[in-house]
Point group: C2
Chain length 397, copies 2
């Protein structure tokens, strides 16, 4: 497998572009992904019971059909907008279908931004009609889906599968209300691999558990989260069957793309200065390991300690203790970077100068060995900073 | 029932005092409550699996005996301190028993402060030996249990029960790692009521669910939480039996003392500028109502919105949606103060000037009507501020 420079339009037969329609003041706010032929599609959605209108429309759309296009706006989430919001979401789908000359049943839609505001449909319509796939600017799509993100998030990988070069690309946005089980997070993955819709959905659901659902910025699960995958088969590989070498290669690509995007989102959490990676080993089950890891990176006290660059293992073991998994409080080993802080729950002497350097880095890894089993899991978060308060307290509805 | 000025030593036969032993630099850090006669006692403890040594010792002590004294230190939590920590906790119990001339089986102990540090036993011993119950200064006990709290927290109430004046007093400390299911929170309640240990424990357990366990500062459950109640019977009321008028009066006193202390802790959360009270009505069950209320006051996005004094109902409804209780996302009514923001999940026009004034107050109340049932529940939290980051990022182990 190879990581290459590229965009969401790198896989064969995909096009993407974006523009400024006018939902936001200056920045791009409307984008489209298009596939030459209808693609097999899979998706996971927010677990929040309050779901935005576009989630309902895309969920319904994906029930039976293949997808040929995805249209996304930022600036307005179209959440808590009632019947009019649902009508507007359907209208957005219809407008995009008409402009792209595809069936509306093959168009997925997504929105992100302010909750409780109706989509300005005249702006949306005028924007959609200006989309020009003859002169696509794929990076403009990456930009158009952002809200308070400070940078675009993308990764492209290639792999030979059964003699054919398969390409997979992913693009995502964060950056607040991030504690997915799907929230204000949008991620789109395109591939030219030939794979069935069923297998694609299975892999997406499974990998979401260990990647996108293992990041947290502020513990809030949004109303608009979605990860959407399109596979158009234009790489012309023999269709990928489960438990084959081709399958393993495809899953590895999917894992890398999902995990990379998830980490990019965590790292660019609102106000964050660093990525925190927690790895829990020696657990009874992988589920419990992931649970503990997510509690560690989700703790406000751990997050502020990391901002203050303090190796505060007391706050970490406290989070381990309330995570709700099986643990033996007397048996916990802990490391920050490669320096051990606890052995059998007892403090160890460590090199303070070296620790200082470890904590200054852009990525800090915390490892916890529960010493009661053989399973492991990871989670990713970010530090909690003055800037987070500024971004979220100064933001006014 | 009457609220009166007083201290934890106001009920008949109780004495309390505190002093600076030397665990902290300048502030008082060691305190004692003493009852003339052994008192019936009840307690609830942290649900964190990593429990501090004093929790283990007090839990064991309370199994069979009455309590005559409680000794508390701040500065060092005696958590994650292994065998030596447990020995030190027992030693602290023995030293206090010897100095106060009571059986060690009647002495409860509690600690709060830094995790992972051993108690300096010479300092503890010297401090205990200086405790002078001939010249007690009860407010010094209130001060001695504080950590990053900005003020002492106490309430005293009196009530005639079966012809006798019964007094109940409570004192507590917060103020970070607060998301009880018992955490860095300590609360002590004394009363001269005559009531059995069993009934006392029942009332404590029940009332903790709707008071202390319904507050959150940062979502972290500490290793040291404890609420301890002593009832010495010196009011000489006939023993309180369940489901009598006397019982109802006692429970009402207990509810007021517990809820008042809980709200004081939430309001004095680290860096907080205001108390946020969430009331959820129209729920299927009181448990679900409390769950939703606690998610609302626990949301970092709601907390920062309150700091920014922004009526951001989108963040509130988002928290309602991921709370995990039964809801109908289309049916939610919402108020801040007495102004309605949502009706059947649709935004309402409100008076912006009046809302501004409501949000500037020291207490902001959020009411959510789920409109699917008849049950209700409350929770209390505080805003999330620059100061919280400062307190927790600058604090170094």
């Amino acid at each position: 497998m190879q990581i290459i420079d590229g965009t969401i339009a790198s896989p064969k037969g995909f096009y993407a572009t974006g523009l400024h329609a006018g939902l936001k003041k200056v920045k791009k706010d409307l984008g489209v992904i298009y596939s030459e032929i209808p693609a097999n599609a899979a998706a996971v959605y927010t677990t929040n019971q309050v779901k935005a209108a576009p989630i309902a429309v895309t969920k319904e759309t994906l029930k039976n059909q293949k997808l040929q296009a995805v249209v996304v706006n930022s600036g307005v989430a179209n959440a808590c907008t009632g019947k009019l919001g649902l009508e507007n979401a359907k209208k957005m789908q219809e407008l995009a279908a008409a402009h792209l000359s595809v069936k509306k049943e093959t168009v997925a839609i997504a929105s992100t931004g302010v909750i409780g505001k109706q989509l300005p449909m005249a702006v949306i319509e005028e924007g959609i009609n200006r989309i020009d796939l003859q002169k696509p600017v794929p990076m403009a799509f990456h930009e158009a889906i952002l809200t308070t993100d400070t940078s675009t998030k993308e990764i492209v990988v290639t792999e030979k599968i059964n003699g054919q070069l398969v390409t997979m690309a992913g693009v995502a946005k964060g950056s607040g209300m991030i504690h997915p089980n799907m929230a204000t997070m949008l991620a789109f993955i395109t591939t030219d691999a030939h794979i069935s819709k069923q297998l694609l959905q299975m892999i997406l659901t499974e990998k979401t558990e260990t990647t996108f659902n293992q990041i947290t910025v502020d513990g809030d699960t949004s109303t608009n989260d979605m990860v959407l995958v399109l596979a158009n088969g234009l790489a012309e590989n023999p269709i990928i069957e489960i438990n084959t070498e081709a399958y393993e290669k495809f899953v590895a690509m999917f894992q890398l793309v999902s995990e990379t995007l998830a980490k990019m989102i965590a790292k660019d959490g609102e106000g964050a200065t660093k990525l925190i990676e927690a790895q829990v080993i020696g657990a009874h089950s992988d589920l419990e390991a992931r649970l503990v890891a997510k509690k560690v990176v989700g703790s406000s006290l751990v997050k502020t300690a990391m901002f203050g660059e303090d190796p505060n293992w007391g706050r970490i073991i406290c989070a381990v203790g309330y995570a709700g998994s099986q643990t033996d409080p007397e048996k916990i080993d802990m490391w920050i970077g490669d320096q051990q802080l606890l052995k059998q729950s007892q403090p160890q002497v460590f090199d303070e100068e070296l620790m200082k350097k470890t904590l200054e880095k852009a990525t800090v890894s915390i490892t916890v060995d529960l010493n009661i089993g053989t399973q492991s899991g990871k989670a990713w978060g970010c530090d909690l900073t003055y800037k987070y308060i500024e971004v979220n307290a100064l933001y006014h509805t």
